[in-house]
Symmetry: C2
Subunit: 394 residues, 2 copies
């Protein structure tokens, strides 16, 4: 029979499943063009044209579908290393990189490598809740701490949570769901605190930086580098969001070359990438993204969507912070009732995710990686919902 843990997980995750089922039913009943689905970070935008051009070139080579080293093709890792050396302001080589099955693969691989039974991994609320599963997969436990009101990290809260059991802190900047980018000064404080606490606990606390939205930022903001800031850092990312190819499962993991216990760490990661059954990142996609370093979809298209939504939602009386990055709005649920808001929006055939899906009830998330028609079509429904709630229109 199914294991007890998985049965419990299915029960507890049933509210999300129910949400999707309701969405599917709405689409069946009213036609998917009449349902405004903002629930998933699944970009509707096509990949850049150059992606398909390179993909076709690589796919024409009949010979390149065999196993390669578990870390990935050497020449692919060289190209990635060259690019991220500038992005992370740290000299990274091919040997510091492991190509992975997306960021999900990268996160599971590093977590398996470092977690001893009962270890804790700290993350800041609000956050992507798959982290909880990823820690649990390897015998660890996600330890959530509150962030600040402006969604920045609360360094003191993280410090208070650290014990000898703390194996790592995961951060995600730009953040899903808040869109927040953690400033350089925050990362500096985090690094200083982690250095201090690592000494105190006698244990290296790794900083795992999950960065799939790094290129989806607005107003020329640069996402500060963790590698440049903290030596025991590991960067995980994917091409899912910036190239609009989430179904292809391609990403990488980079270990700071000055990390303590470096040799064991990188060899452990390569072993775990293999034994978790990933074996290696998909071959053809490795060869394709190698030629697309620094390429992304047109971020201005996301900026337009953001700006249209921001203007309208504010007009209707919703409260939120304009995201600096990602394609998410994290909007206050009036009165703090996220589920009520989700239900009211559902009556308007608008699908969003309640804040509790990110451990922060009192908000709801709008994923605006959708066609403009979805945004336009949803406006009347958002307006009516605001009116029902008696929000003060601008």
């Amino acid at each position: 029979m199914v294991s007890e843990k998985i049965r419990n997980m299915m029960d507890s995750s049933s509210f999300i499943r129910k949400m999707f089922e309701t969405g599917a039913k709405l689409k069946q009943e009213f036609g998917s063009e009449n349902v405004y689905d903002f629930s998933l970070g699944n970009p509707a935008m096509d990949p850049p044209e150059i992606f398909t051009k390179i993909l076709l070139e690589k796919a024409a080579d009949h010979h390149m579908h065999r196993y390669m080293p578990n870390a990935g093709y050497l020449d692919v890792r060289e190209k990635v290393a060259e690019y991220i050396s500038s992005e992370q302001e740290t000299a990274v080589t091919a040997n510091n990189i492991v190509m992975t099955s997306g960021a999900g693969g990268a996160l599971n691989t590093i977590l398996k490598t470092i977690i001893n039974p009962g270890d804790k991994i700290i993350a800041s609320i609000p956050c992507f809740m798959e982290y909880k599963f990823y820690c649990d997969n390897h015998g660890g436990e996600l330890n959530l701490v509150n962030g600040k009101d402006d969604f920045n990290l609360d360094i003191e809260a993280i410090e208070t949570a650290i014990t000898e059991k703390t194996a790592a802190v995961i951060i995600n900047s730009p953040n899903n769901p808040s869109g927040r980018i953690y400033p350089k000064e925050t990362l500096d404080s985090l690094a200083a605190m982690l250095n201090k606490k690592s000494k105190e606990t006698g244990r290296t606390i790794y900083l795992i930086s999950d960065e799939p939205y790094r290129k989806i930022v607005y107003n020329n903001i640069t996402v500060p580098s963790v590698m440049d800031t903290y030596k025991n850092s590991v960067v995980c990312t994917s091409y899912s969001k910036d190239l609009s190819v989430p179904g292809e499962r391609i990403g990488w993991l980079a270990v700071n070359p000055v990390a303590e216990d470096y040799e064991n760490l990188i060899n452990g990661i390569i072993l775990c990438n293999r034994i978790l059954g990933y074996v290696n990142a998909p071959a053809l996609m490795q060869r394709t993204i190698a030629e697309l370093q620094g390429v992304s979809v047109d971020i201005n298209l996301y900026k337009n969507k953001r700006d249209i939504l921001a203007k309208k939602l504010a007009e209707f009386g919703f409260k939120f912070k304009i995201p600096d990055g990602t394609f998410y709005f994290f909007v206050e649920a009036p009165g703090g009732f996220d589920m009520k808001l989700v239900d009211l929006l559902k009556e308007e055939r608008i699908l969003v995710v309640p804040g509790r899906g990110f451990s922060l009830p009192g908000y709801f998330r709008i994923a605006y990686c959708v066609d403009d028609s979805v945004i336009e079509g949803s406006m009347a429904g958002f307006k009516r919902t605001a009116e029902k709630l008696g929000l003060k229109q601008e």
Copy 2:
């Protein structure tokens, strides 16, 4: 730091790593064309031409790289289901299939779904030793039992090993490394025994059938179906070997539609495929293999390699059973000293895997999925090694 478990795994797997390192060093020193590498199941053969044709067609579609349901595209699963309904002699539908990141992804997904802490999974020696890691990943333990001298399953040995802690039996037919195909009568006995023991222990014992070599068989042998034989069966496979695309990580898992606790089982598997970080099988490869059901590389080319090797190895005095399937020979190490044999062959720049890599010292494995030139080039070295060992030549 790296977890204790992973550090131990790195230490204990170091003999395999050392083997690869020695191989790499030999290739550097003598040129890779002068090293005869039979160590990996990494087909040198190109995929069939139709694979590249379909791949290019699918890759030209710019729109198809998004997330799809975690189980995979519905239309892909429909095509797979149609094909395997005939292959497995069981009416399977799209709902019974989950597309996976190769057989490694499929095995990890089903194991995570069913393992409670401390559960045992039984497998028969000789076997693919990654199973050990795959069970351990999810808190289970691989329980190895001896097979028969002809490499068939020993049903009594399996029966003796079963306790209340037994969650599943994994079989692999055609078998890596022995090439053995378990006959219908053996599967029938296994099914009868598992039904009896499930009743006795009060627990459903699943049969997990790992079948990546199903299409690589000789002399028109058909691999008997487990689905037709045992209701609580799950089939895992990949296109890695039969289409020569192991680097692409594409496979599937099929749950017998009449399995007990079916709804929980399939939903648990879909959840685990997601939370293990696979999320879904690579999108483009799903769409490609959908059009290639029943297609494989030309098996006659493997048969020729097998026959040449068999003739020569027998001439030199090596003892082995002719494999009915796979591209492996599992050869007796004279005197039972597998490591000695491996070392002697290394002096001839021939790389093979010792039997202990499959929990059966006393043998060594030759993976003949190599170019004919590798086979030809190695013959003098095999001959000299046989002479050194004083084997009686035919």
